[in-house]
């Protein structure tokens, strides 16, 4: 009857082929992981990666295009994979398991590492290791699920540009460029990560290493990192809010906005979660600042002050924060705790950007007069667990340190009530006069 409608096409054959390919691909990866002595892991593993990639695209395209824009969240709280059901738990356990192997038992990944060996040789002119395998998987996840996000939010230019941006920075700045640097025998460097997220980029040991091994380029890398941390970050955050980094550039943010997007509603919106957030993220930020200062003092005193503090620090912080928090909990628990657990509770860069956003920024999310119907879509789909509705239903702007400016609240609002915008700081907190607001502290 409505055969011309894009929303009633039978797309199940494509989806079935896609799922089959994904299944075969995963099987190939499993074979590469455990049976690499019997069968070339390049064929089983490399072929598996290819099959998963093609299968994902074949599945994602019809699955998203058959749904109208307003129906993209249909079933989010009803389907097993996205509602903490059995499928969600399995995905969570597999992801967590992978991180555990990666950080503590890398030898077990030997077969998979061998599967990406040709790619590593091609890109970096050196053998693959577990970190190259991880980078390859990570980049693929951002790209494939980036396509998912592009289709899901296809009506929204802000989402299209934002998603393209994180895909570009992950592929170019966090995968190809560091590989190319190694190819040219230069130090491996990620131009899209800065102190305090990449805390060691301003540690005396890294600075010393870059100057020694990188020469002029190394000096530029140090200069780049310092300028981005102390100059570009405050300036860009003043004009655009922390979103310029967290939702547009950062690799962790990039994964959260793409692969993590189907899990954004799982973030905890309770007042208690907010209290935990404040109690954890700022101490971590303070810890990094103090440690960096102490390391420099130690370095200037030529180690007399604290001895091997740097080594000890790197081991403890790297284990608890770098591995446990950002990796295992941050990504492994996507299907259980939501997609921004690390960004919300742990990331020192997010804390730094958040303070700037709250006190020295033109950014805010404006509420449109008295149009809010308190439906809760904004709060539910806020990956940072902000109770956006609390402000919107009072006609108030949303100005929160944690807001990463992903723009999804403005996308899911059925009444078009929210708008991310940059305006004068004067009157930044002024709400609409068309609704009476509550003067109640919620934290």
């Amino acid at each position: 009857m409505h055969a011309s409608s894009p929303f009633v096409l039978d797309s199940s054959p494509l989806k079935a082929i896609g799922l089959t390919l994904i299944g075969l691909g995963l099987l190939g990866l499993l074979v590469a992981g455990v049976g690499y002595q019997a069968l070339s892991p390049v064929i089983s593993g490399g072929g598996g990666i290819l099959a998963v990639s093609i299968g994902s695209i074949l599945y994602i395209l019809p699955a998203r295009l058959e749904l109208p824009v307003a129906a993209q969240n249909n079933g989010a709280w009803q389907q097993s994979a996205t509602a903490r059901g059995a499928v969600g738990w399995v995905i969570g356990i597999v992801l967590t398991g992978f991180y555990i192997l990666l950080y503590w038992f890398p030898d077990t990944l030997h077969g998979l590492v061998k599967a990406v060996e040709p790619l590593s040789q091609l890109l970096r002119n050196r053998p693959a290791d577990q970190w190259f395998l991880y980078g390859t998987f990570y980049t693929l996840a951002v790209l494939l699920m980036g396509v998912h996000a592009l289709l899901k939010y296809r009506n929204n230019p802000y989402q299209l540009i934002k998603t393209t941006s994180v895909m570009f920075f992950q592929l170019g700045f966090a995968f190809l460029l560091p590989g190319l640097l190694l190819f040219l025998n230069e130090p491996e460097f990620y131009f899209s990560y800065f102190w305090p997220l990449k805390y060691d980029y301003l540690f005396p040991s890294t600075v010393g290493y870059l100057v020694e091994s990188g020469g002029g380029l190394g000096v530029f890398m140090i200069f780049w990192g310092a300028v981005l941390s102390f100059l570009a970050t405050p300036v860009l955050t003043y004009f655009y809010g922390k979103r310029w980094y967290c939702s547009w550039v950062c690799g962790c943010g990039g994964l959260a906005e793409t692969a993590g997007d189907p899990y954004r509603h799982l973030s905890d919106k309770s007042r208690n979660a907010w209290r935990w957030e404040v109690a954890i993220i700022y101490p971590i930020f303070g810890f990094i600042i103090i440690t960096t200062i102490l390391l420099w003092l130690n370095s200037w005193s030529e180690g007399k002050l604290f001895g091997d503090l740097s080594g000890g620090f790197s081991r403890t912080y790297g284990f608890f924060i770098g591995a446990m928090f950002s990796g295992v909990i941050g990504v492994g628990f996507y299907p259980i705790l939501g997609n921004r657990v690390w960004c919300r509770f742990g990331c020192p860069m997010a804390a730094y950007l958040g303070l700037l956003q709250k006190y020295f920024s033109r950014f805010r999310i404006t509420t449109n007069g008295a149009q809010c119907i308190s439906c809760g879509n904004c709060s539910t789909y806020c990956e940072m667990g902000i109770d956006v509705r609390w402000y919107a239903q009072q006609g108030k702007p949303i100005i929160r340190a944690s807001c990463v400016g992903c723009g999804i609240c403005a996308q899911v609002c059925p009444r078009g009530v929210l708008k991310l915008e940059n305006g004068p700081q004067e009157g930044r907190y002024a709400g609409s006069a068309l609704i009476r607001s509550e003067d109640i502290r919620i934290l």
Partner: protein, 454 residues
């Protein structure tokens, strides 16, 4: 002024009742009790559809957590009021002991109109107004293939969207020639109609329900329309509108018409008894203003006004310029001021519509004075504060034009269509010169002194 030990009881925890309780607490330390038979706490009624579609869970559509009500010392009672004894100032409840009040506010909301279709007790036939309706609809639509929606209004399209989310085929019976034509001008109604059809929803126009036919298990099997057509279906959604939920008061001494009759202070015919929201009916509405205001926004506005009166400052209800919003599948609809569905020659409008996408803007004005009367927006968002300002300050179309761009509220990077509307304007009003003075939103906001820091 009321003494602190005054007990104010509000029946109904919808947007009107909940807003009243919260606003009253800000101004008074009286004792407040909020009673509801429907739910333990206030929830967002327009959001019920999202629970069905799986966008949210029930707890996600609850705007205020339990701690909030405790912190505000607002007493919540989940019980049904069976009877009101106005002379003893006492409520008879279904489960608990009777509750005494000093002041009573009736905020009982709306119920389904067209309940006669439910009288035959056929399984699969229901309305969609309450939380219980949601639960019933979740049960009744499992594993079904085809549904019929009776009525082409906002609840009708909500139900259709809900059913489509479960891949259930939907046929809508719409009384008009076009969807919502009784509220929208021809072009907007046509645009929305086509959008709904493109989303695989079948609409039968100028049709009404004549008969519901059940099988031997009392389960709906098919319906018959007034034109005599038969449509097989396993579910019938009655979406022919709502009416004030006041039937339980019919035998009392309270003066009722369609709703509870109130004056501009929400005072009913009985002293100390007030009514707000959907259930209230203005006994002397001003010309052009409806006696019943059955919207989320008006319920909230009624409550904000009555809170002042109950806290001791008697305040008259001033509605101010009209506004409303809705969503038709993918199309957001906003309206500011008043745009009628048809208008006499004394009025005209500036209408722009996107050639391919479902987007439109209409500026409706009085011809002689060029006074702006209303704005309709489809697929485009405008700033409520600025539009409201235009109406309260009696802007003419010519005064609006230089500020038009500042009104756009679409997300960043969206294509702006105000230039197209402006060129349409200059072609229709060749005498008008383009103003050199142009304001962006932030300049206007400062000039209008809205940028105060709270």
């Amino acid at each position: 002024m009321f003494l602190p030990d005054q007990h104010i009881v509000i029946i109904g925890n919808g947007i009107a009742g909940a807003t009243l309780a919260i606003n009253l607490r800000k101004q008074s330390n009286c004792s407040i009790t909020l009673i509801s038979a429907e739910s333990a706490t206030h929830f967002s009624r327009p959001a019920l559809m999202y629970v069905y579609m799986g966008h949210m869970r029930y707890q996600d559509i609850v705007p205020y957590a339990d701690w909030f009500w405790q912190a505000q010392s607002i007493n919540l009672l989940h019980d049904k009021v069976e009877q009101i004894d106005f002379s003893k100032k006492q409520l008879v409840l279904q489960q608990r002991t009777p509750v005494r009040y000093d002041k009573l506010v009736l905020a009982t909301g709306s119920g389904l109109a067209g309940t006669h279709w439910l009288k035959a007790n056929i399984k699969g036939v229901q309305g969609f107004v309450t939380l219980q309706d949601l639960e019933l609809m979740q049960q009744q639509t499992q594993h079904i293939k085809h549904a019929v929606i009776v009525g082409g209004g906002l609840i009708g399209i909500e139900m259709a969207e809900m059913l489509r989310s479960k891949k259930i085929a939907v046929t809508m019976l719409v009384r008009d020639r076009l969807f919502w034509r009784s509220n929208l001008p021809e072009q907007e109604a046509d645009l929305i109609t086509r959008h709904i059809q493109e989303h695989g929803i079948e609409i039968r126009f100028e049709e009404e329900l004549a008969e519901i036919i059940a099988d031997k298990n009392r389960q709906v099997q098919r319906i018959k329309t007034v034109a005599g057509q038969e449509i097989p279906c396993e579910f019938v959604g009655i979406a022919t509108g709502v009416k004030p939920a006041v039937d339980f008061l019919r035998s009392s001494e309270l003066e009722l018409d369609r709703g509870i009759l109130v004056n501009d202070y929400f005072e009913t015919s009985l002293p100390g008894v007030y009514a707000i929201g959907d259930c209230a009916q203005f006994s002397n509405p001003k010309p052009g203003i409806p006696a019943l205001e059955q919207l989320w926004y008006t319920g909230r506005a009624h409550a904000e006004t009555l809170a002042f009166t109950l806290a001791g400052t008697r305040k008259k209800y001033e509605r101010g310029p009209w506004f409303n919003s809705a969503k038709f599948l993918d199309i957001e609809y906003q309206t500011y001021g008043f745009v009628p569905n048809n208008w006499p020659d004394a009025y005209d409008s500036l209408y722009w519509q996107h050639p391919t996408q479902p987007k439109a803007i209409r500026l409706f004005y009085e011809k002689e004075t060029a006074l702006l009367k209303g704005i309709n927006l489809l697929g485009i968002r405008y700033r409520h504060d600025l539009c409201q300002h235009w109406f309260t300050q009696n802007y003419t179309l010519h005064q609006v034009m230089p500020e038009l761009k500042a009104a756009n509220f679409d997300p960043e990077f969206f294509k702006k269509y105000e230039p197209e509307l402006l060129s349409l304007y200059f072609s229709q009003f060749p005498d008008q010169k383009e103003k050199t003075e142009k304001y962006n939103w932030w300049q206007l906001r400062k000039r209008l002194k809205w940028a105060f820091t709270t």
